[in-house]
Amino acid sequence: MTAALGSTRRDKIDELAARAGQVPAGGGGVSLARSAFRRLRRDPVAIIGAVIVVAFLLVAALAPWLAPRDPLEQALLSEVRQGSIPGSREGFPLGVDQLGRDVLSRLIYGSRQSLLIGVVSTVLGAVAGMALGVLAGAFGGWVDTVVMRFVDILLSIPGLLMAISISVLLGQNQYALMIAIAVTQVPVFARLLRGSMLSQRDSDYALAAKALGVKRSRIVLGHVLPNSLSPVIVQATLSLATAIIEAAALSFLGLGDPDISRPEWGAMLSSAQAVLSFAPMLAVYPALCIIVVALGFTLLGESLREALDPKFRR
């Protein structure tokens, strides 16, 4: 027998290796986003979260077609019998509220406003926070000091108190509500992005780019920022949940959107407290909606965190 490597042997070993489920070394690299997505698809927690979120988004989008009735229409007084609020009756699957409006339709339409408040306030808060974070993280030095001191001051007021003061200041309307919640989110995003940018800035690849003479703006925008985004994405997903819950809390404190033409879960929940002892379901339905949506965003956010964390990569 010769010492030469028979091609048949190599093939056979490759084949064996493949059969054993082991890929020979040198398999192509997979980008972080793609591998994260692949892991998300296999993670049952992520799937549950995503299904919940998508389902509610669909309900919100298709509200006019899904809702059996006009959410503002009040049933005739004769139909609203004392002591039977709400009651399942023909045409009102979940009954009616104190004003004789169809609860199911209000829940369906309410998803629009609740999700809108959540998304808008989170996006506003994230964008403002990220702007501050980029400013601090990219420039460093005194800019960093000033920005971070400002963020520290914002952080020194507990979130709910902050939201209260801002809605008191801006008056009662849906934009005030969104801005109030957005402001409470700003410090988290600012700190997060700055922190992750700082660690990226000192990383070896950024130093390598610097050593190669790449311009600072290019390093920051082209390398550091994109690599710092994953914790922000995770936080944004989790913040959606808090924003929706916080909106309900502000509604409860009488700082919600006073416009009754827009049903909203938080407002429904608050107004149902008055009749809680004899019609608890009026409060339970919107509360369940809030809980399930918040849970959906939280599950999605947590599994995103795991999927994007290099520690969990395999």
Binding site: P158, L161, A248, L253
Partner: protein, 334 residues
């Protein structure tokens, strides 16, 4: 260690100054300005003009801010337009109740949260683990005031096991020295009054403690899971130490580091988070006062309370930092 504390205290100064600027600006930005805030909604334009003159509101902003700061340093935050009482007096009357409630809530959250989180981690993958994970996810997803209403409806209204409103039964004629009702009862040896005050804390305390409970369970679990895989735990086992020693000295001691930060942060947040719970239970603490102030546009009280609560929050966080330094030698030296 002392230098560490002093440095932290010095770092507080700019934050507190910034805070005072923010709240000063806040009151001025309000519709009607500080005069309206002080005199209430029914003030006539003449009242407002007179007020502005008396308090020098026609002077430059910087001078006004200086005066505001000077008064704030003397703990003078004006008077509540609703009750006519000094905001500081109002706060001191109500804060003990909120503090009692917060302490109860945190004892509840820590007492259950840490053991449960530890158990969940050590029985990783068991039903205890899964249910505590699910429970902690639910705990942060439930709107606090809804949970408070449910608890009240079930245990106070329907079952009648526990009182559902106030801080003490009005029929009890208790002596109040410190306004900490439990403490007062113990000091005056009116034990039934103290016990009644404790019972009044149970439902709001549980409602208030649910979010910290959920967070403490999660952090403890994650932290213990991290620590048991640390090399030094393997070293401790390789040294043949008794299981109890490994658990106490090498696992729990390190696992509680991140938990301690969470506990501090949550305690600070609860002092203000009480606004929702206290409203539901008509508790009469700081939170109830805030809610009344919002409803009555009592801006002076809002401003004063928010400022004081923010300072308390900052101080609690400072305490957390210091205790973290005591727990983790690596921080101390840095």
């Amino acid at each position: 260690m002392l230098r560490f504390i002093v440095r932290r205290l010095l770092q507080l100064i700019p934050i507190l100054l910034g805070l005072s600027v923010l709240l000063f600006a806040w009151l001025r930005a309000l519709p009607g300005g500080p005069a309206q805030a002080a005199l209430g909604e029914r003030a006539t334009p003449e009242d407002i003009a007179r007020y502005n003159e008396t308090f020098g509101l026609d002077q430059p902003v910087l001078v006004q801010y200086g005066k505001f700061l000077g008064r704030a340093l003397q703990l003078d935050f004006g008077t509540s337009s609703r009750t006519g009482q000094a905001v500081t007096t109002e706060f001191l009357e109500r804060f003990p109740g909120t503090l009692e409630l917060t302490i109860f809530a945190m004892v509840f959250a820590i007492g259950i949260g840490i053991p449960l989180g530890y158990l969940a981690a050590r029985r990783h993958g068991s039903w205890i683990d899964s249910s505590s994970v699910i429970g902690s996810l639910l705990g942060v997803a439930i709107p606090v005031f809804f949970l408070a209403y449910l608890l009240r409806l079930l245990f106070a209204v329907q079952l009648g096991w526990l009182p559902g409103s106030g801080r003490q039964d009005v029929r009890i004629d208790a002596t109040h020295i410190t306004n900490f009702f439990v403490l007062d009862g113990l000091m005056t040896r009116e034990f039934d009054a103290a016990w009644d005050a404790v019972l009044h804390l149970v439902l709001p305390g549980i409602a208030l403690g649910t979010i910290p409970l959920a967070i403490i369970v999660r952090i403890t679990r994650a932290s213990v899971l991290d620590v048991v895989n640390e090399d030094y735990v393997r070293t401790a086992n390789a040294k043949g130490l008794a299981t109890a020693t490994v658990r106490r000295r090498h696992i729990i001691r390190n696992a509680l580091l991140p938990v301690s930060t969470t506990i501090g942060l949550q305690t600070g947040l609860l002092l203000s988070g009480a606004v929702l719970t206290e409203t539901v239970f008509a508790f009469g603490g700081v939170g109830s006062a805030l809610r009344d102030a919002i409803a009555n546009r009592d801006y002076a009280l809002l401003q004063g309370f928010i400022l004081i609560l923010a300072v308390v929050y900052v101080l609690v966080n400072l305490l957390v930092d210091i205790s973290y330094g005591l727990l983790d030698p690596r921080v101390r030296v840095r």
